[in-house]
């Protein structure tokens, strides 16, 4: 091991500051629409080594963003969304890797998206922001990599929708990806999965405050609809057992015998999740991101043959799934693994025992982190960092 700090207890990346990448040239999306330019907001942790071989790109999921680790100020209540996994001595070890995390195009945390001003109209894009698909994200991330001087990533790492980006990277930019870490993902969504996304979109668009997506122009927020969408999503991210363990049938208030004002703990939890999410997330972005999930299907261009879709890939793959994840089940990950083996690609897989459903990929489960740590330590050795 070339890591001088191995053995010391894991630390935190500490204070971080978001940076902005401005892509000044026109950028044509897969839907045919050309953005005149765009911004991506991103953060980095760790140090890029001399031959720029130790970079890891973190791809975020549906509601994620660039702030994956560390804090923005000393009194921040919460660190970044994946702080448990990214840091010195952590599975994605910033003593060894230079980690980049960005907010994707179409996002609502600083990158160009529906809340940005459309130069053609002088108003926010809102619902007119063009459709963005996973390949557009990968292309824009590649431009960010160019900007940072990174030719080839040591690894592209992502959970859920982030795992789909890692797959797309390996397919589209085989020479730029040494390893793809695909966590709790799928090669395409099932009908049930698309159905959940459509219910979430309907919840948003049927909110009277949605105003056909032009709510920002009228200083309105479809918070009820967005909150409901988040509640639906949240139920699908947890498992029956996990929810049972966390909430059971415990009451928050009221009395079962009295009826109307009864509130179960789980209801209260979901209301809280929905409400707090609707204050920080943009409804148009939510619609856009769920569409990108639905459309993802790299096998489509290869006559629905996933094995052929992987033909171009040269990366090594690690595919991780969780036993109680029913939104992106173990079987979906197995499809990826089987296709990669049939395509003669290097692939390893782990199925992590967990009661936490799809949400597991965000949690510091010991075996999960051990798998990430072991796999990435090997990659770090290979790139000599």
């Amino acid at each position: 091991m070339s890591n001088p700090d191995s053995g010391s207890p894991p630390g935190n990346v500490g204070l971080v500051e978001p940076k902005s990448f401005h892509h000044p040239e026109p950028f044509t999306l897969q839907c045919g629409v050309t953005l005149p330019s765009y911004e991506l907001i991103y953060e980095t942790y760790g140090t890029l080594n001399a031959d720029k071989s130790n970079a890891i790109l973190i791809c975020h999921a549906l509601s994620g963003h660039h702030h994956a680790a560390g804090v923005h100020s000393a009194d921040d209540a919460k660190p970044g969304w994946w702080d448990t996994a990214i840091g010195p001595g952590k599975p994605i070890d910033t003593n060894r890797f230079f980690v980049i995390s960005l907010n994707n195009l179409g996002g609502c945390h600083g990158s160009t998206g529906p809340q940005s001003v459309d130069p053609a109209t002088g108003k926010p894009y809102g619902p007119d922001f063009p459709n963005v698909v996973v390949r557009d994200w990968v292309n824009s991330q590649a431009a960010l990599a160019d900007h940072l001087g990174i030719g080839r990533f040591a690894a592209i790492v992502g959970g859920s929708l982030g795992g789909m980006q890692a797959l797309q990277w390996a397919i589209d930019y085989p020479n730029r990806v040494k390893a793809a870490v695909v966590i709790a993902a799928a090669a395409k969504l099932s009908a049930q999965n698309i159905a959940f996304n459509e219910i979430a979109r309907q919840a948003i668009t049927s909110d009277p405050n949605y105003l056909e997506g032009r709510y920002a122009d009228e200083n309105s927020i479809p918070d009820k609809g967005l909150g409901l969408a988040r509640m639906i999503g949240h139920v699908t991210y947890l498992s029956d057992d996990g929810m049972g363990e966390k909430f059971g049938r415990e009451l928050k208030s009221g009395d079962l015998g009295r009826g109307s004002d009864v509130e179960f703990q789980v209801e209260s939890y979901l209301h809280h999740q929905g409400q707090s999410f609707s204050r920080i997330f943009d409804a148009n972005t939510y619609v856009l991101m769920t569409r990108a999930l639905d459309y993802f299907d790299p096998a489509r261009e290869s006559n629905d043959n996933l094995v052929n879709a992987f033909e171009s890939a040269t990366a090594s793959f690690l595919v991780v799934s969780f036993t109680t994840d029913w939104r992106f089940s173990v079987a979906r990950s197995k499809e990826i693994v089987d296709a990669l083996i049939a395509a003669r690609k290097n692939v390893a897989s782990a199925v992590i025992e967990s009661v936490h459903g799809h949400d597991s990929f965000l949690l510091p489960l010991s075996r999960y982190h051990e798998v990430l740590r072991s796999y990435l330590a090997r990659i770090a050795d290979e790139v000599g960092s």
Partner: protein
């Protein structure tokens, strides 16, 4: 790196660049060796989390999959060689698994502890106890070995299943071919080593 005796016997039989599947790959020593020295496209199946961790650290293509769940996720003729070392005796349906190994692979190599070894015979005959020996170290109540067999049993199964024995070796724990073993293999050999193919040779 030096390989355990049994693994180096196997490694010699695998062609450079071959597609290899190792069922119950353990810590991945065979695959790591074959990847480094024979440029194989190899995968290992295992379910033990510690084994999987060690394989990941070695850069071995380890797939978390239970052999008792079958191999039907692999297409016909996916591999040149399917290897299973000292695992046959602990799977639920050895006969089915053997057939599956030769469906997905052109050839297979199987090793297992010989229940007909003289030490086992002596323990049953003289002590009236289920055998515990160096090559079968578990007590009857906590053993993963639910399908122990002798060389003869195994060869009968191959016959019934229409599998061809291409090569047979009898080895001890250092995987050297002991002289007595070649004289009376079903009694003297602790570990059986078989290379199997489909149909008649």
């Amino acid at each position: 790196m030096t390989l355990r005796g049994d693994l180096s016997v196997i490694a010699q039989l695998i062609n450079p660049g071959a597609r290899v599947l190792d069922l119950g790959c353990g810590e991945g020593d065979l695959l790591a060796y074959l990847q480094a020295n024979k440029d194989v496209n190899g995968y290992g199946l295992d379910v033990d989390s510690e084994n999987i961790r060690i394989c990941l650290e070695k850069g071995v293509n380890v797939i978390e999959q239970d052999l008792d769940d079958g191999l039907d996720n692999f297409g016909d003729d996916t591999f040149d060689m399917v290897v299973m070392t000292e695992t046959l005796q602990s799977v639920r349906a050895p006969d089915h698994l053997l057939r599956e190994m030769l469906r997905i692979g052109e050839e297979c190599i199987v090793t297992f502890p010989n229940f007909g070894h003289w030490r086992c015979r002596m323990q049953i005959a003289l002590q009236g106890r289920m055998p515990v020996a160096k090559h079968i170290p578990h007590s009857w109540y906590d053993t993963p070995n639910i399908h122990l067999c002798t060389f003869k049993d195994f060869e009968n199964l191959c016959d019934d299943a229409g599998l061809t024995i291409i090569e047979r070796q009898v080895v001890d724990h250092r995987y050297s071919e002991a002289m007595l073993s070649s004289f009376m293999p079903n009694i003297m050999g602790p570990i059986a080593f078989y290379r199997l193919g489909r149909g008649s040779v």
